[in-house]
Amino acid sequence: MRLKTLMLGAAASVALAPSAFAERGSDGQVNIIYWQAPSTLNPYLSSGTKDLEASSLVIEPLAGFDEKGVVFPRLAAEIPSVENGGISQDLKSVTWKLKPGLKWSDGTPLTSEDVKFTADYCMNPEGGCAQLARYEGIDSIETPDPLTVVIHFREPRPNPFTAFTGAQSPVLQKAQFGKCVGSGASACTAENFGPIGTGPFRVVEFRTNDSVTLEANPNYRDPEKPAFAKAVLKGGGDAAAAARAVLETGEFDYAWNTLVPPDALKGMAAAGKGKIVTGFGTLVERIEMNLTDPSPDLPEGERATARHPHPILSDERVRRALSMAIDRTLLTEIGFGDAGRPTCNLVPAPETFASDNTGCLEQDIEGAKKLLDEAGWAPGADGIRQKDGKPLELLFQSSVNPIRQDFQALIKQWWQEIGVATELKSVDPSVFFGGDAGSPDTFQRFYADVEMYANNFDGTDPEPYLARYTCEKAPGPESQWQGENVNRYCDPEYDRLIVELGKTADIGQRADLAKRLNDMITKDSMTIVPLVDRGRVSAHSNRLGGVILNTWDSELWNVADWTRVK
């Protein structure tokens, strides 16, 4: 009887399997195009998104983020929490359990030793690890048995999902990378270009800055996946050509980051060969107000430091008036189309952490004028407001980028309407974002009154991001102009709340605190004036199924589930 049921069951599953599931490698080849070509497959040596995402096909972290930003297990058996005992009561250690029976693509078993090795590899002081921030604060790592990893932190860590979570910190194979530690890291070309992994694919050929050819990993943990036997990731060209290759000619199945003017993209999609997918993360295009005086009349060393508050922008009413004059909806339509949405928040997502702050969305020119009147800036003869004989003039800088220059021109017009004269300046991106302490044109040094750029945060927890605006993080001559608080914003209450956030583990309380901090720096003080929440746009062919755009992790996060639509 028992045998009969078993046999029946087996027969039924054989009969049903082909229709219900695709078999591994049954769907041929998937072609992916990244117009920025991957340079290496070792994300610890490069921080470029293109490199991270290409490597995510091959190597995997213990846990990833899904499309909603929720942590889910990859190599781990389950997500540690205080409830299941994975996170200790004092929040100072976290215990990960690996799924049993995992194998590398070369057939050897994955053990906790590999996990520990990965952390040591990145934390080696000579390696120049690009993802070191993910491992910061780790005191020691223990491996009591082959399936258990215990990470001890120096301080309580309410959000331990940085190390080994997300495409930025995948697990490397100790046997392969053992000799590549420290200064030897970049001599290991073969290893960096062909890491052995646990992911759905393994590398066949890597041509740097050109293309990656991959095949299904025979030892992938799900025997039915991936559906594709072969994957090719081609790089090069530009975003428009990549979008065209998917939407118009159908040569490729998936195009990453098709950042093309909204009209052009719609035109391509009209060919009916593919779809455009959009997702929103935390990337916010914003205007930053300089709270210190960047005047060149001040001596170097004092210029743009907290000793000299900004003569115009120190007044909160002026900052608010500047924000009120901006029509964010129009900016979004012009610059990003469906790939953007107007926002008033520094932290626009994930939902739990986003404040319900929408006060800035309505443009209010009259209100702005009234505020400036109140602040004592009276209209002058030439339409420019004046106070004590000084005109209301601002220097507005940004990086060279066609959309940013459009934004600058529009904002200049609106500010002109309320009686503010604006001088525009655009700096080459590699200089602006280059962080060179000797250059006067970096966004950190901020030798201008207002500046515009976009920034976001890794993962789903905004704590480190919000912590950038504490008093001590202000860049200045003492810190070689390094530091993230470019506005030189300083509020003791803000600093106190950041410390409190660092001690709070309850997600609800963390969200409340994060929202308060977000509001303090945006709608309450107008230090940061958010403009547009910039989404991610990619395109996939109608013949490719299973694509779910994820802005919290690699876009190729669920490539194992992709199938060929017949």
Binding site: A133, S186, N209, S211, V431
Partner: protein, 335 residues
């Protein structure tokens, strides 16, 4: 002749050293930073560590001398080891690209075949088209053939490749869908089908470049033929009753080819330099694309190595052109 060649080679050494120093200083002085486009989510302390790992902590002259040593000593040694299976260069630091963290020469070697097939083929095709057009255009000056030839070469001259390339892509790639718009660098030619595929994907980039090259060379050919056709020796040859075919193809053509050959030789380094724009338009990903990516990301070792190789090639081919001139034209002697 040999003496002259040796003197020129010796003179080339200080020239090249000077060129390398100028390139290095230009790169050093240019704004921008190799870590300029890393995401802003990376904290500044980690940025500093990454900078040090790239060796950017040292003074510029130290890095320059290191580069010289790597280029002239380590890399040749390594090549020697590769060929003869020896181990002289073991443990020595090769030139490492910032972007890929891999030896620059390996990447160049990987890219070279791509560039030589596409750009080289287009150069050969360009010459094959240009020479006959130049001959006929000159022999039948102001005929309808000459007029059309002049028109086409003017078009080839004046239309930039990024325009003709995109037009071809729109017509043959998108509207007609005959040819692929993206070049597959991983394609191996093993049988008829893959050969056809290779020809299809090369068709557009080669056409664009061949048109451009043919335009230039056919003008030189035409001008040089015209010069010679008016010479006295041509009249003499005709007066002696030589056949017109022999006069044109033997006497005039041979003499007219002398300046054209040197022009062709001087143009050869450009083949190795790749076609930056055309490679980008068709995603051929050869040396041109490598150079432009390296420049964009301030990958100093890669830019330095590539541009210096181009400098060597230019100096070498200039020498070759000069020597060829002497060989082909008995009137010119260097000693």
């Amino acid at each position: 002749m040999l003496n002259y060649a040796l003197r020129r080679v010796l003179l080339a050494v200080p020239t090249l050293l000077f060129i390398s120093l100028v390139i290095f200083l230009l790169l050093e002085a240019s704004p921008g930073d190799p870590l300029g486009d890393i995401p802003m989510t990376i904290p500044p302390e980690i940025r500093d560590r990454m900078r040090e790992a790239l060796g950017l902590g040292q003074a510029w002259y130290v890095r320059y001398v290191m580069w010289l040593q790597q280029f002239f000593w380590v890399e040749p040694l390594h090549a020697f080891d590769q060929i003869f299976g020896t181990g002289f260069s073991r443990g020595m630091q090769r030139i490492i690209s910032f972007q890929t963290r891999s030896p620059a020469f390996d990447v160049i070697a990987q890219r070279l075949p791509q560039t030589l097939t596409v750009v080289g083929l287009s150069y050969v095709l360009g010459i094959l088209i240009a020479v006959p057009i130049g001959i006929v255009s000159a022999y039948r000056q102001y005929s309808w053939f000459d007029q059309i030839g002049t028109f086409i070469s003017m078009v080839g001259f004046s239309l930039p490749t990024f325009f003709t390339g995109v037009v071809l892509i729109i017509v043959f790639g998108i509207k007609l869908q005959w040819l692929p718009t993206i070049y597959d660098t991983t394609l191996r030619v093993t049988d008829w089908t893959s050969l056809v595929q290779q020809v299809r994907q090369m068709a557009m980039p080669v056409t664009v470049l061949a048109l451009f090259n043919a335009a230039q060379i056919s003008r030189f050919m035409r001008a040089s033929m015209l010069d010679n056709l008016r010479q006295d020796y041509v009249r003499t040859a005709r007066a002696k009753g030589l056949k017109e075919r022999v006069v044109v193809l033997k006497h005039v053509l041979r003499n007219s080819l002398i300046p054209v050959v040197t022009v062709i030789a001087l143009g050869l380094p450009a083949v190795f330099g790749g076609a930056i724009i055309t490679e980008q338009v068709f995603k051929v990903n050869g040396l041109g694309q490598l150079l432009i990516l390296a420049i964009n990301s301030n990958d100093i070792p890669m830019v330095m190595t590539l541009t210096f190789i181009f400098a060597i090639l230019i100096v070498a081919f200039t020498l070759i052109a000069d020597l060829l001139y002497g060989l082909l034209d008995p009137r010119i002697r260097y000693d």
